[in-house]
């Protein structure tokens, strides 16, 4: 018996590809069928359409659902609103995340670094819903931010900000500003960690070399540090951008009655039973992300990889 097992193990040692196959087949099947397969089946539904009279899905290939998505003004509004917010959130998260990531990568002691990792990850360990609802309370008219501004007699400032058309609203908790704040807060760890990892890989000698060759701190930042951190920023923004594109809970809890892609998908595939349109909506984040990564690559965001 044991000699049989011995033979098996020697055989597998000599034929590594069979060993690979045995180990990789289950996860590959999982990835292929559960992940990609179901996604493709779902997206394929965007080629079907809803019979306007019976309300039933017609299983015939047609571009009518996709045409509907891009011709209805209401739908286009949803798409633009979502993509613009996702872009703003990514930029905001990068601006807040970069200094923290830089400090972590270059100036902290190993112990301090662990503290930072914990501080950044800790919010992720608590419920996403609890955190979003807390923000609702913080941002509400009766919330702490309003209270704070009132105490400082700066109410007029808050009102001024909220009176800005489009991004303002009756209170922070019912405005794009509030949504931006909450999205930026929620996805910030996904921006900090990749940037930190990319900066960690920049040896200090490169920064010294730049000074040595006459570059000031500012020039060194723009010519050496930023280009080398760009893959990290790109990776981080891929997270923040795609996560914002697909989220439906934050727009539902914080913000106005105006829909975002996630909410549109949720209602169309749920109560409305319009799975083809829901599928068509889900195509958009995939297309936007593909285009984003393509242009990021073209602009050289991954050159330093």
């Amino acid at each position: 018996m044991s000699s049989f097992l011995d033979n098996c193990s020697s055989y597998l040692f000599r034929n590594k590809h069979i060993l690979f196959l045995i180990f990789l087949l289950p996860p590959l099947l999982w990835l292929g069928i559960i992940y990609l397969g179901s996604l493709l089946v779902f997206l394929f539904h965007s080629l079907f359409y809803l019979d306007g009279f019976t309300g039933k899905i017609v299983y015939k290939i047609s571009l009518s659902t996709i045409t509907e998505l891009f011709t209805s003004a209401a739908n286009i509004d949803i798409l633009i609103r979502t993509v613009v917010l996702a872009a703003c959130v990514s930029i905001g998260a990068a601006l807040i995340g970069f200094p923290i990531a830089y400090y972590m990568a270059k100036f902290t002691s190993p112990k301090m670094k662990i503290f930072f990792y914990l501080a950044i990850m800790l919010p992720l360990w608590s419920s996403y819903l609890v955190r979003v609802y807390s923000w609702k309370l913080i941002l509400a008219k009766e919330g702490i931010i309003n209270w704070f501004f009132t105490k400082l007699h700066l109410n007029w400032l808050l009102d001024l900000v909220l009176s800005i058309p489009v991004i303002g609203g009756p209170s922070l908790s019912i405005s794009y500003i509030g949504m931006f704040l909450v999205f930026t807060y929620i996805w910030l760890p996904f921006m900090i960690l990749p940037i930190q990892a990319s900066l960690e890989r920049v040896p200090n000698s490169l920064i010294n070399a730049s000074y040595d060759l006459g570059a000031s701190k500012r020039q060194t930042f723009y010519k050496v540090i930023l280009p080398l951190a760009l893959p990290g920023i790109a990776a981080g923004s891929i997270f923040t951008f795609s996560l914002t594109l697909g989220d439906y809970i934050i727009p539902y809890i914080i913000g106005t009655s105006k829909f975002f892609i996630g909410q549109a998908v949720y209602t169309h595939q749920g109560t409305a039973g319009n799975i083809p349109l829901a599928a068509a909506f889900s195509l958009v984040p995939i297309a936007v992300m593909t285009a984003y990564i393509y242009f990021a690559k073209k602009l050289g965001a991954f050159n330093a990889l």
């Binding site: 000698s205 010294n208 070399a209 000074y211 040595d212 060759l213 006459g214 570059a215 010519k223 280009p227």
Partner: protein, 334 residues
């Protein structure tokens, strides 16, 4: 001779450890000057202080009579070749070499010409559009040199620049570095832990030990007239005889060292020092044998050339007579 670089009474501590302790060095214009010492001896810290990456706790640095102690590295007229070359990975060879020209906003046409010139000097024509990751170790080394030399700095600092290269390439680069130094007529300050490298290339050497300078002298004097037991032991091979042993075995009043090439084996004529010792180790080196000999607490290194007339029985435990002349020993004050 004009003084290129003068550092005076430099002190640098990291916590409880003195990385540099009262370091004084004067380096002359056009000199090839090496900072040599074991790892952790302070030689790299000293280089960083000269470059401006480290700020000393006290002391001054003068560059051609100008006090640069408080001038940041990007305004100092020195350039550094880093141990890991520190080439910018997102730039090609041309962009790396031209980096400082671009920073200084040198006109485009001049940039092109200067880059062509320097690439030719370091024999890298045709490589200008390659990325550092597409170059071999030796080529990266040349790019790093070209990038620093294009500035025509007054002083070039080199931090173990050949450490990562294999032996053959290292020997070749030693010649090229010397010839580049002659061509550009600039002062080289060269950090190394490789004594052969320091001895063969330098005009003068400063020997570092635990943050202090043990001796500054020409390679010949460092080898022949070491000022301390540390230098005698660190440079080349030598045998150090303690004061007690010197008194009791040779009736000599002080501790001394003797190089193996001056130790005669089974010499018939009587020399100033004589000792009968047992072979305790034999190493075959090709043209010669390295012998380690033992007599009580005394250890002596000696070379044996197999073609010599007085052939000996090469076996561990074999007793042989050693002798050397007084003129070949170095007195050590312990």
């Amino acid at each position: 001779m004009k003084t290129a670089l003068k550092i005076t009474n430099i002190q640098k501590r990291y916590g409880d450890v003195a990385a540099l302790d009262q370091v004084d060095i004067e380096i002359f214009d056009g000199e090839f000057f090496s900072l040599l010492g074991p790892s952790g001896s302070g030689k790299t810290t000293c280089l960083k202080v000269i470059a401006g990456f480290e700020v000393p706790d006290s002391g001054t640095i003068h560059l051609f009579d100008e006090d640069v102690s408080s001038i940041p590295p990007f305004k100092r007229d020195v350039n550094t070749v880093f141990q890991d070359y520190a080439l910018f990975p997102h730039m090609n060879v041309r962009e790396n070499v031209g980096y400082s020209l671009k920073i200084k906003k040198v006109p485009k046409s001049d940039q092109e010409r200067l880059i062509e010139e320097i690439l030719q000097k370091v024999k890298l024509e045709g490589y200008d559009s390659r990325k550092p990751s597409e170059l071999s170790g030796g080529q990266r080394q040349r790019v790093a040199l070209a990038r620093s030399l294009i500035n025509k700095p007054k002083v070039l600092l080199l931090d173990e620049p050949l450490g990562a290269l294999d032996l053959k390439l290292r020997e070749q680069m030693q010649f090229e570095l010397k010839s580049l130094q002659r061509q550009f007529e600039i002062t080289f300050v060269y950090v190394t832990h490789d004594q052969q490298e320091a001895m063969s290339m330098s005009d003068r050497i400063a020997i570092f030990n635990e943050g202090r300078i043990e001796q500054i002298d020409t390679p010949i004097n460092i080898y022949n007239k070491p000022k301390s037991a540390f230098v005698a032991d660190f440079i080349g091979t030598t045998s150090i005889i303690s004061k007690n042993d010197a008194l009791s075995y040779f009736n000599y009043p002080s501790s001394f060292s003797i190089r193996p090439e001056f130790v005669m084996i089974n010499q018939s004529e009587n020399l100033d020092f004589n000792l009968s010792a047992k072979i305790s180790d034999i190493q075959f080196q090709g043209s010669l044998y390295k012998l380690l000999l033992e007599k009580d607490s005394i250890l002596i290194n000696a070379y044996y050339y197999p073609n010599s007339s007085n052939s000996i029985n090469l076996e561990i435990g074999e007793s042989i007579n050693l002798s050397w002349d007084k003129i070949n020993i170095t007195d050590l004050n312990e």
